[in-house]
Amino acid sequence: MTTLNINGRDVTVDVPTDMPLLWALRDVVGLTGTKFGCGMALCGACTVHLDGQPIRSCVTPVAAVAGKKIITIEAIGQTPAGKKVQRAWLDLEVVQCGYCQSGQIMSASALLAKNAHPSDADIDGAMSGNICRCGTYPRIRAAIKQAAKGARP
C-alpha cells in the first residue's frame, strides 16, 4: 500500500511500487486528465507537478512520489499560475484535438509559477518536451505570454 497526496487529498493505492505514477493516476485512481503518449518521457503528455516541479509521470515510479505533493490537470486551476494559463488558453483558443493540452498546461503553469515573465528562450526550454501533433505551438507561446502579462502587478 502506498499513500499518494494527489490534488491535496491522500489516496492509498495498492499497486507495485515500480508502477509509473501515470498508470496509478489513470488506471487506479481514475484521474484520466493526465495522458499517455509515449511511455518514455519523450512527449510530455503525462506531465504533472511534484512539489511544484513538472515531471513526466510515465517514467516516475510511485515509490518516488510517496509523501510528495502531486498536482494534476484536474486541480491546476486552483493554483494562481494554472488559473491564468487556463484562462489564456481559452482566450487565445489554443486547443485543437486537445490530447496533449493537459501536459502543455502543466508545463506552462510550472514555468510561470517560477518565472513570471519568461522570454522566448525560457518558453522553448520549458515547453520543448511537450509534443503537439496538431501544431498549436504559435498559440501556446502567445498564451504563455498573455498569461504572464496578466501576472504583472
Binding site: T34, G37, L42, V95, C97, M127, Y137
Partner: protein, 719 residues
C-alpha cells in the same frame, strides 16, 4: 433537402450512447448528471437527426462528423444555430451514433470525417436542418396565437409575435412543433444577416480540454474493465508461431494472455501490468513472405513500375509532341517516403462482448465501419452492436482505418467483461497504416523564353481508394492519389498526367493529412520552381505569368507575396520559398517560407506567411488555426518524416527516432484570409500540403540545392 424524423426509440439509443461523459459544452462539468437528466427528459422536438429541443428548452445538437481538433464541433453547431436562431451558449453537443443513412458524408456516401470535406459538403445541409427546425417552431407559435407566421420572429430560442410582443420559448413550443410537417423547402438567411457564420466564435470543446475533463476513448472506465496491450506480428503478414507466456502470467495484475493468429495481447488490471506482461512474453513469429523486405526493395520496384506508361488522368493538347519540339527540356524524379501519423492519443478501443450484443467505445473517423467490423467479428447483427464515439486525440487520417477496432473486438471475444485495448507508442509506430511511398516522373518543355509549353507528370504508387472505397476507384484511376496533380492550375498548352497503380503490400498504406494533395503539391510546386530557375526567372513572377486564367490563385499568390515581403533581401544562408496549392478541396493556399540552412544541413524554419482563399468561411479563427497547425504538421513531415523497413520490420519506434516538430523549432506563422462568397472549400489539410514545397523551394533559394526526395534534411546531408 433531406430531413429525418428521429423516433423516441432512437432517442433512447442516442441517450444511452451519451452515458459516461459524452456531453460537451456547458454541461461538461456535470457529466453524470447531464446524462441522467437527458435520459429521463421527454423527447420534445426532433425535426431531424441533428437537432433536439426538449420541453425544458434545452437545445442539443448531434454532430455526425468526428471532432479531431479541426473544429467540427463548433462549425456545425454554428451552421445549425445560425438558421435555428439560437446562441452557441444555449447549445450542447452529442456525438452521433453510427448511422450511414442519417450522417452520410456526401463525398463518399457514408459516415466519414476526412478529406477536408465536412464544411465543404455539409455547409448547406446543416443550415437547412437548422432552418427547417426554426420554421416549424415559428409555425407552432403562429398556430398557438392564431397569427400569420410571417408576423413572428425567432431570436435566441424565443419566438416573438412582433405586432403584439407576445413571446414563447422553444421549449414551450417543442410539443406543438413536433406535430407539424417537416417543411420540404426552407428559406436560408442572406449572408448579410449572419450573426454567427463568419465570426471567430469560441470553440465549444475547449473548456473541457483545458481542465482534464474532456473524454477521449482512452479515458473510458467501466465497472470490471480490464486493460490490455498488444503486439502484432512485427512483419506484415507474419503469424504467431510459438509463445511462452509463463513469465508474463507470473506478473502481479496480469490476468490473461490472448492469442490471435497474427498478434498476442496481455490482459491485466492496469496498463503497467499489461506492458510488463507483454515485455515478459517469449514470442517466435513466422515472418511470412515479407521477412526480408527493405525500403530499397520498395523503391526499386517503384522505379521499375515508373518506366511503364500509366492510365491517363488528364490530357490537354499533345504533350509528347510539344515536348519533342521544345527549345529545352527538363526532367526530374521525385520521391516521398512512408510516413507515420503518430496521433498523440495512441490507437485504442474498449469492447464488451456479450452473448447477445457488443458495445464498443472508440474514437473513429468512420464510425459506421467500426460498428460493421464489430458485427462481422462477433457474428452479431448490426443492430446488436452499439458504438460510442469520442473526441479524437488526433486523426490525420489514421482513424479513417478501423484495424484497431477489429483487433480489439477479436481480443475482447476471448475476454470476460469489458476490455480496453491500448497500443503502446511502439506498436503504433510499427503497425500504422502509412502514407504510401510515391515515385513521380516529370518532364517539361520550355520555349525559347523559358515558358513551359508542355508538362507531363507520371505518378506511381498504391491506390488507397481501391482498398478503402472500391467504387471510387474507376477506370484505373485513384482520384485521391491524383488529387492536386490533375488540378494543375498553370496555363500550359499541353498537359498529360498519368497514374501507375503499384501496390506496396509490405506495409499497410492509407491516408495521411492530405495524402494525394500533400504528395502532389510537393512535386508540382518543386518542379515549377525548377522551371523558373531554368528560365532564370523569379519564382513568383514565373507562376503569376501562368495564372492568367485563374484569378483566385493569382490573388492569393499576390497577397502572400506582399505580406511576406517577397523580394526583400535576406541575410546570407537564408532563403525564401513560395508554393501554391489547389486541389479538389476547392481551396487556394499559398505559403511563403523563410528558412536558414546550416553548413551541416540543418533547416531552421523562421517564418511562414500564408494567404488562403477557402471561399465562404464559417469560423475564421478555426481556419487560421488549421493553417497554422497544418503547416507545423507539414514541417515535421517534410524535414524529418520517414518510416523505413529492414527485414520487413519498421525501423522506427517512438519519438526518439520519429522526429516531429517541437515548439522550439516552430516558426512564426501569419495567415491572411481572403473573404468572399464563393462556395466553401476544405481547410483541414491544405496547410500541410503546401508546406513541403515551400520549404524545399526555400532550401533551394538558400543553398542552390534542389531536393527532390523527402525528408529534406537527410537529403541535404547527403547532397
Amino acid at each position: 433537402m433531406t430531413t429525418h424524423t428521429v423516433s423516441r426509440r432512437d432517442f433512447v439509443v442516442v441517450l444511452t450512447a451519451t452515458g459516461g461523459g459524452l456531453m460537451l459544452g456547458w454541461r461538461v462539468g456535470d457529466r453524470a448528471g447531464a446524462a441522467t437528466a437527458a435520459a429521463t427528459a421527454p423527447p420534445g422536438f426532433a425535426p431531424n437527426a441533428f437537432i433536439r429541443i426538449g420541453r425544458d428548452g434545452r437545445v442539443t445538437m448531434i454532430v455526425g462528423q468526428a471532432e479531431m481538433g479541426q473544429g467540427t464541433y463548433t462549425a456545425f453547431p454554428m451552421l445549425l444555430a445560425e438558421e435555428l436562431e439560437v446562441g452557441l451558449d444555449q447549445v450542447q453537443i452529442e456525438h452521433a451514433p453510427p448511422d450511414d443513412k442519417l450522417y452520410a458524408n456526401p463525398l463518399v456516401g457514408f459516415q466519414m470525417t476526412g478529406a477536408s470535406s465536412s464544411v465543404k459538403f455539409l455547409y448547406e445541409p446543416m443550415r437547412r436542418a437548422g432552418a427547417a427546425a426554426r420554421s416549424m417552431l415559428v409555425g407552432a407559435a403562429a398556430q398557438t396565437w392564431n397569427v400569420d407566421a410571417a408576423s413572428c420572429r425567432a431570436h435566441r430560442g424565443v419566438v416573438t409575435h412582433t405586432p403584439t410582443g407576445r413571446r414563447l420559448g422553444y421549449g414551450a413550443l417543442a410539443d406543438r412543433a413536433a406535430t407539424l410537417p417537416v417543411p420540404t423547402q426552407v428559406t436560408l438567411k442572406d449572408r448579410k444577416d449572419f450573426r454567427l457564420i463568419g465570426t471567430p466564435a469560441k470553440r465549444l470543446d475547449t473548456p473541457a480540454k483545458v481542465n482534464g475533463t474532456a473524454q477521449f476513448s482512452i479515458d473510458v472506465r467501466l465497472p470490471g474493465m480490464k486493460i490490455a496491450t498488444v503486439a502484432a506480428s512485427p512483419v506484415l503478414g507474419g503469424k504467431l508461431a510459438e509463445l511462452d507466456d509463463s513469465k508474463a502470467k507470473a506478473i502481479a495484475g496480469v490476468r490473461q494472455i490472448v492469442r490471435l493468429d497474427d498478434a498476442v495481447a496481455v490482459v491485466a488490471d492496469h496498463m503497467w501490468a499489461a506492458k510488463q506482461g507483454l515485455a515478459a512474453l517469449v514470442v517466435r513469429w513466422d515472418d511470412g513472405p515479407n521477412a526480408t523486405v527493405s525500403t530499397a526493395d520498395v523503391v526499386q520496384e517503384l522505379e521499375v513500375a515508373s518506366q511503364q506508361p500509366g492510365v491517363v488522368a488528364r490530357k490537354q493538347g499533345d504533350a509528347a509532341a510539344a515536348l519533342a519540339g521544345a527549345a529545352s527540356r527538363i526532367e526530374a524524379v521525385y520521391q516521398v517516403p512512408f510516413l507515420a501519423h503518430t496521433t498523440l492519443e495512441p490507437p485504442n478501443c474498449t469492447v464488451h462482448v456479450r452473448p447477445d450484443g457488443c458495445e464498443v467505445w472508440t474514437g473513429s473517423q468512420v464510425l459506421s465501419r467500426a460498428q460493421a467490423t464489430a458485427a462481422k467479428v462477433t457474428g452479431l447483427p448490426l443492430e446488436k452492436v452499439v458504438v460510442h464515439n469520442h473526441l479524437l486525440g488526433g486523426g490525420f487520417g489514421r482513424r479513417l482505418e478501423h484495424d484497431y477496432v477489429t483487433q480489439a473486438v477479436r481480443i475482447a471475444k476471448q475476454v470476460e467483461g469489458p476490455v480496453k485495448v491500448v497500443w503502446t507508442r511502439e506498436e503504433d509506430v510499427q503497425h500504422d497504416v502509412y502514407r504510401p511511398y510515391y515515385y513521380d516522373r516529370l518532364a517539361a518543355g520550355l520555349d525559347a523564353r523559358g515558358q513551359p509549353i508542355a508538362w507531363t507528370h507520371r505518378l506511381v504508387g498504391p491506390s488507397i481508394f481501391a482498398r478503402w472505397a472500391p467504387p471510387a476507384f474507376q477506370n484505373g484511376l485513384d482520384g485521391d492519389a491524383l488529387d492536386g496533380a490533375v488540378h494543375l492550375v498553370y496555363d500550359i498548352p499541353a498537359i498529360q498526367v498519368e497514374y501507375v497503380r503499384h501496390e506496396e503490400p509490405v506495409v499497410n498504406t492509407g491516408f495521411w493529412r492530405g495524402v494525394g494533395v500533400t504528395h502532389n503539391t510537393f512535386v508540382i510546386e518543386s518542379f515549377i520552381d525548377e522551371l523558373a530557375a531554368a528560365a532564370q526567372q523569379d519564382p513568383l513572377e514565373y507562376r503569376l505569368a501562368l495564372l492568367g486564367k485563374s484569378p483566385r490563385a493569382r490573388a492569393v499568390l499576390e497577397l502572400a507575396a506582399k505580406q511576406a515581403g517577397w523580394g526583400a533581401k535576406l541575410p546570407a544562408g537564408r532563403g525564401r520559398g513560395i508554393a501554391l496549392m489547389y486541389s479538389g478541396w476547392d481551396t487556394y493556399l499559398v505559403a511563403v517560407a523563410e528558412v536558414a540552412v546550416s553548413p551541416s544541413g540543418e533547416v531552421r524554419v523562421h517564418r511562414v506567411v500564408c494567404a488562403v482563399d477557402c471561399g465562404s468561411i464559417v469560423n475564421p479563427d478555426t481556419v487560421k488555426a488549421q493553417i497554422e497547425g497544418g503547416v507545423n504538421f507539414g514541417i515535421g513531415g517534410a524535414l524529418w518524416g520517414e518510416i523505413t523497413l529492414k527485414n520487413g520490420r519498421v525501423e522506427q519506434s517512438n519519438f526518439h527516432n520519429v522526429r516531429v516538430l517541437r515548439i522550439n523549432e516552430a516558426p512564426a506563422i501569419d495567415v491572411h484570409l481572403v473573404r468572399n462568397g464563393e462556395a466553401p472549400g476544405g481547410i483541414g489539410e491544405p496547410g500541410t500540403a503546401v508546406t513541403a514545397p515551400a520549404l524545399a523551394n526555400a532550401v533551394f533559394a538558400a543553398t542552390g540545392k534542389r531536393i527532390r526526395t523527402l525528408p529534406l534534411e537527410r537529403q541535404l546531408r547527403s547532397a
